[in-house]
């Protein structure tokens, strides 16, 4: 069963879509060049005028935009409309320094609602659902992004926000929530609580849309069995819009990008040159309809692949793979690129092991050392040390074959690794630069 929120766009032929993108790209570049000084300066420095770009095929000629550009223009330096036309401000806190501030016009918010409505519909939600939004409400785009999606499709939408797990469970059962939106780590946490309380049978949850942090197929299975939902991956970032930039359809073979609004490219992290489809690299977006904050070739630093082939669901929108890491959370250990998500995928492949872990990187005798702290679980525990040891050896072996470097596995007590209700932070790097 395939439902589309906007069948005309979602099933449009690639040729018709490209024509639409070309036209919108030219308009977006004119808008950025005319109304946003930093873009004008960037383009002038690169010796390019909006007129030099005919369409999507010329995209690679344009200079890239980075998070630092937004930070340097804090707070409103890259806004391209008068403040009188801005109706919403969001901000994301960086780990270093200033926040990144983003703005929206009424039209930008309408586009957001449209994109989120497509995602919810793609995942199977309808106006008869009860949409429970457990993303944080506030400056973070998750809460209000999920919210506008629920309202746009006409569903009863609960602004549950994040935290207070007991109350979340109470609302699940009392309000009859059928669709859940939150981060995958919070979904795991809620799932654990549901198991602990033994109330899974009282829940009506059937669909989950989880995003804002990378997760694995194994974690998808874990969440589905804990909460009894069909779990979809939803992607977005505040610089581009917020949640709803892409989402996986019932086929679940990649996340369809809302390409009539966001052009997508994959570039080589070292050279910045576009890579062929299917080759992993940095994900780059260009917003072609954004008014308040134009975004031209914004490098997300997320690592993934894209696939432009038609999907069995009937959509021709390009699919991006799961985010396998970020070039800025990428750890380089003994010269090898390591992503926390790789470790997570190993742990979820070992029976009885919970995906609660922490990577501790240290430099011992001038050599990088990786320790992976894994929580003890009932499934892993035994009264015989040799059984526990054999599971530990198995994890060590799988980590070695996945990462190409060895790691020491340390078992820690249950509950000692922090459960994250927002974005998970799983790395402690003790190496001094």
């Amino acid at each position: 069963m395939n439902a589309y929120w906007n069948p005309e766009i979602e099933t449009m032929s690639r040729d018709a879509l490209t024509t639409l993108q070309d036209r919108r790209l030219r308009t977006a570049l004119n808008h950025a060049y005319t109304n946003c000084k930093p873009y004008r300066a960037k383009m002038e420095a690169a010796g390019i005028l909006p007129g030099d770009i005919n369409g999507v095929e010329d995209l690679w000629k344009l200079p890239m935009t980075h998070k630092s550009d937004l930070r340097d223009s804090y707070p409103y330096g890259m806004f391209a409309v008068p403040m009188g036309d801005v109706v919403r401000i969001h901000a994301s806190s960086g780990t270093t320094g200033k926040q990144t501030v983003v703005g929206y016009t009424a039209q930008d918010i309408a586009v957001w609602g449209e994109c989120m409505a497509r995602c919810l519909t793609m995942a199977g939600a309808t106006k008869d659902d009860i949409v429970h939004v457990s993303y944080g409400y506030g400056l973070f785009t998750g809460g209000l992004g999920g919210h506008i999606g629920g309202e746009t499709i006409g569903a009863a939408t609960i602004p549950a926000s994040t935290g207070n797990t007991k109350r979340q469970l109470q609302m699940f059962s009392d309000f009859g929530s059928t669709v859940l939106l939150c981060t995958p780590s919070y979904a795991m946490h809620l799932g654990d609580a549901v198991l602990e309380e033994g109330i899974r049978d009282q829940l009506k949850l059937r669909i989950g849309l989880f995003g804002a942090e990378p997760w694995t197929e194994e974690m998808r299975g874990e969440i589905e069995s804990r909460l009894g939902v069909r779990a979809h991956d939803i992607y977005g970032l505040s610089e581009v819009m917020g949640p709803g930039v892409s989402c996986d359809c019932p086929e679940r073979k990649g996340l369809h990008v809302m390409e009539d609004h966001f052009l997508v490219e994959i570039v080589d992290p070292h050279t910045g040159k576009p890579l062929p489809d299917g080759v992993p690299g940095e994900l780059v977006f260009t917003c072609v309809t954004k008014e308040a904050l134009p975004l031209i070739r914004y490098n997300t630093r997320d690592i993934c692949t894209i696939d432009r082939s038609p999907c069995a669901c009937g959509r021709n929108l390009t699919r991006m793979g799961k985010i396998t890491g970020r070039t800025d959370d990428m750890l380089i250990i003994r010269g090898v690129n390591v992503f926390p998500s790789q470790v997570e995928s190993v742990l979820l492949g070992v029976a009885g092991v919970a995906p609660y872990y922490r990577l501790v990187v240290d430099r011992i005798n001038n050599l990088d050392a990786l320790e992976i702290q894994v929580e003890m679980t009932e499934g892993l525990f035994s009264d015989e040390e040799r059984r526990i040891e054999s599971t530990v050896r198995r994890i060590e072996k799988d980590v070695l074959s996945m990462l190409g470097i060895s790691a020491k596995i340390t078992l820690v007590s249950h509950g000692t690794i922090e459960r994250f209700e927002g974005k998970a932070k799983r790395v402690l790097d003790r190496r001094t630069p």
């Binding site: 003890m376 679980t377 009932e378 525990f381 035994s382 009264d383 015989e384 040390e385 040799r386 526990i388 040891e389 530990v392 596995i409 340390t410 078992l411 820690v412 007590s413 249950h414 509950g415 000692t416």
Partner: protein, 141 residues
């Protein structure tokens, strides 16, 4: 006739064992016998208590990973070579671990033996004239 033993995970860090013992003390759990398996990476605290189910629930409520295992108990005359004779009897049966304890009540020593097949081990021990003890015996010590 088996004895229920409680096994507890003990993280390899300072104070981890005392944390577990503190929970047991607060719960007024009377430890009849105790043994600690210590590897370089973690430890397992094994113990015999009067009410295994209550103890297990108490530990779990505190988020401590623990499990219940059925083990064989055997009474030993308090004389040299007694433990050796028990192990000799069990030749051919793979013993995972074994630990002994004494009581104030009588002169005898007791051993806890962890094997895969309690029934078979007990048959062999009985045939060789050893006394098998069960939960009732050990809890009332």
């Amino acid at each position: 006739m088996v004895i229920e033993q409680i096994s507890v995970f003990v993280e390899n860090k300072q104070g981890a064992l005392s944390e577990v013992l503190e929970v047991l003390a607060e719960g007024k759990i009377d430890l009849r016998a105790i043994s600690i398996a210590d590897t370089s990476d973690f430890g397992i605290l094994r113990m015999i208590v009067p009410d295994p189910d209550k103890t297990l629930a108490l530990l779990k409520a505190k988020g401590i990973t623990a499990s219940k295992t059925e083990v064989t108990g055997c009474k030993l005359p308090d004389e040299p070579g007694a433990l050796y004779r028990v192990l000799k009897t069990l030749e051919g049966i793979s013993v995972e671990y074994i630990y002994a304890f004494l009581t104030r009540r009588d002169e005898d020593a007791y051993v806890i033996i962890r094997v895969e097949d309690n029934e078979r081990a007990q048959e062999v021990l009985r045939a060789a004239g050893h006394t098998i003890i069960g939960s009732e015996d050990v809890y009332s010590l």
